[in-house]
Amino acid sequence: MKLSIDFIYRPAGIVVLSRVLVLFFLSMAVHADERWTADKASMVKNAEEQTGLSRISIGTLHLKMRPIDADVLFRKDPHDKSSFAVSIVDDTGEILKGRIKVSGSFTRRFPKKSISIKLENGQLWKGQQKASLDAMATDGSMQREWLAWQLVHALGMPGPELQYVRVYINNRYSGLFMHTEWLDTGVMARYRLGADGQFFHPSDSQFCGDFLPHSKKNLKDCWFKLSPRDKDFSPLQTLMDEIAQTPIKAFHEYLETHFDVDSVINWLALNVLTSNGDTYNKNYFLYRSTVTGKWVVIPWDYDLSFGRNWDAYLPFPENILNDNFQYFYPPELGAPNPLKEKTLRNPALNQLFTERMLHLLGEEQHGAEATFGWFSPQAMQERINSTASRLQPERIDDPYLKDSAIDFAQETESLWHYVQRRHAYLREIFTGVVPWNPELAIWNPVDAPPRPALSVSLFASQQVSGNGQYAIIAAPAYGYLLAAIKLKDNNGEAAKFNVESDIKHTPAIFPPGYDPASCIQRSWFITLRTPFTSRVMDLQLDYLQEDSRRQELGSGGIEQNLTLWVLDGQRWHKLKTQVNPLSNVISTQNMTINPSQMLRFVACPESTES
């Protein structure tokens, strides 16, 4: 067994040192229990009851346009921002006239484009003059925004209503879109925050809505003022000054006085759960309510969350659109922002945040029954599966999706893989042997030293229950998944496994005829420690593809063609393998493992077999 030193998560030397020591003892003696037990799971309310998923309705929107305009709308130059005359035929048959245009920035490049409609004065559709229809083009699962907003609403945060809608243009099906209620002061009024507050939104293209000194100099470039329609940025200026001047130790008092604290804590919790790093300098709203006299944070834009990862080493647009995957970024992830940093570094607020996380993870109650365990694997699995089953038939006729290369099942599965892993990681971060310490966090990733190359081995020993659910076996102190095991035999008894993973190493031993350089640069070792009885299991193993440099893909070969091989001590066996290249998970089913038997696994692309 090797001593594990991992720099993946927090490169601060002191953390690493403490973890080395902890791991040394852990690897000798600690056998982590399977923390997410069936008992705890039963405490989590059925996801559909919590969120009303059983009532997911898919609406229909009929639009009328001149044929040439309808022809041009999705096919014109993506940078063009022209609008066209459109009519909405509402449910009663009434014709509502307005203008339609392609919306968004990055998503304009996709064949299926998001659109927005502005109706003529006095005309309303669903109570609003404007309608936003998100094509969900960057999200093959079409669920990321939906899931994020379900949590926003479950937490009682202000936010727009959403509905999937089938859009027909001139009676021709144009695909499934997400109608997102236009976020305006009317929405704020619905949340009893008044309609006459100060409403700000960071500019999407400037990346400086972050309360840092540089953005103070360019306040009007960094922020849009949505309401009132004046040029008065003094409320924001004051807010920035106050945040800058308030020391961390007094920040809880400041936040209590000037902010809806729950909105800040929930915003951070939502971003941490979903690994949303595409925020803190953009993609959120600030509203200063005249009713409460406090600022409220409204989250925004979750299409690049749930495991998606920006790649600094690839050109645009591959830096955004890629099949990288991560679930192991700590709570400070994302752009620097003093509001985030001071909140998480203030002891009282950090405790509040931690309790909110534990509540949503289903670890400790600390809040309403309705949201307890909202992000538990079981609740999320139900949520993801039921939404996917509702969306799947809609995709078949979608003219932009029916022939696309997107594998919806794979996309949906990668969401589920993310949740499994993120849950285990966060549980370890917040309840593990080395809890997350905000004082050791890196608050400005740009100033952080380069992360050292991976050269590690991780180990865990864990009891797996026979409840028919996947047990996540994660490295203690790291939360990094080593294997997910589901016992398939029907004896119902638990079994103990040792799992070890040699990370970023070319396999020292590999199947005959394969070039080890082409294989995943990792080997997995699994030993059944429970005596007497062989067990049958389904198995998930992960490999790393965090970005184009920190990854374990071999040279050559197609990721989708990876095949798992197992060495049972005597010979290699090729296993029937499923690969999810989006979540970097290799799975096999119905594997038999004998007591005290150590199985060695490697994964190599089938096409390289000689």
Partner: protein
């Protein structure tokens, strides 16, 4: 991306149609000042000859473009000039141009047709030292743009070309105009470009005696000109461009060296 296109299309004052369509309601402003000088001219047999004085011409042009709809862009321009050569001089507003640009390809940008009217302003139309062309004219042309590589930080090439016919009411000879240009992005710094343009007379009218041949097109002349340019962005909306050009070959035209400086403001950025 639009920055490069905008500056490319305005690289020189004499041009035949621009390929770039504005989005609906998009506004674009361009202003340029050009200094031309020379002490030779190409005579009516295309021989270079020394002239009595070295001309010193300042030429200013402003142009606004407005996206009327996805399908049409409206254009308006106004020129002014200040020129002298020996004892002769002129100063004043030149011609007003009003035009419309449309798409040749309904799906993509960079291929367009354009019709422009040329309207004299208040100067004396028959004065041989006038700052404008002195007659109503109409210009109709097509233009296209080809781009290779896209993105602000990558090296990329773009090629642009346009041809037009300019018809005059009255004595000026009608003309054929054309240009070809190429630009290459130099990392994030700016763009370097080269352009060849030509004005060729239909020779359906006799040359008019003018004192500032380079100032007015109201003569029967031919001109082939080359220019190099450098363009760069000042900020998200402002851009600037400088260019140096020279007449390569001509007939009934001054053999000028021209230096220009242009700025533009793009509301869409």
């Amino acid at each position: 991306m639009l920055f490069g296109v905008a500056m490319l299309t305005c690289a020189t004052i004499v041009q035949a149609a621009s390929p770039w369509m504005r989005s609906e309601a998009e506004r674009f402003y361009w202003a340029g000042i050009t200094y031309s000088t020379g002490d030779q001219r190409w005579d009516d047999k295309s021989n270079q000859k020394k002239v009595d004085c070295r001309n010193s011409d300042w030429y200013m042009h402003q142009k606004v473009e407005y996206g009327y709809s996805y399908y049409y862009t409206l254009i308006a321009g106004l020129s002014a000039a200040s020129a002298n050569c020996g004892d002769d001089s002129l100063t004043g507003a030149g011609d007003l141009t009003l035009g419309i640009r449309g798409r040749l390809d309904k799906y993509s940008n960079g291929k367009s047709w354009e019709i422009t009217t040329i309207i004299p302003t208040g100067y004396e139309r028959d004065n041989s030292s006038r700052p404008g062309n002195g007659r109503f004219g109409i210009e109709a042309g097509v233009a296209w743009l080809l781009k290779e590589g896209e993105g602000e930080l990558t090296s990329s090439w773009s090629w642009q070309g346009g041809v037009a016919i300019r018809l005059w009411q009255g004595p000026p000879a009608d003309q054929f105009l054309g240009y070809l240009s190429v630009q290459r992005r130099i990392a994030a710094v700016g763009k370097i470009g080269m352009r060849i343009s030509g004005d060729f007379s239909f020779r359906n009218e006799s040359p008019e005696k003018t004192k500032f041949e380079n100032r007015t097109r109201l003569t029967d002349f031919d001109k082939l000109r080359a220019a190099v340019s450098w363009s760069s962005r000042i900020n998200a909306r402002w851009s600037w461009q400088t260019n140096v050009g020279h007449v390569l070959w001509g007939r009934n035209v001054t053999d000028n060296l021209t230096v220009g400086l242009n700025i533009s403001y793009d509301w869409s950025q």
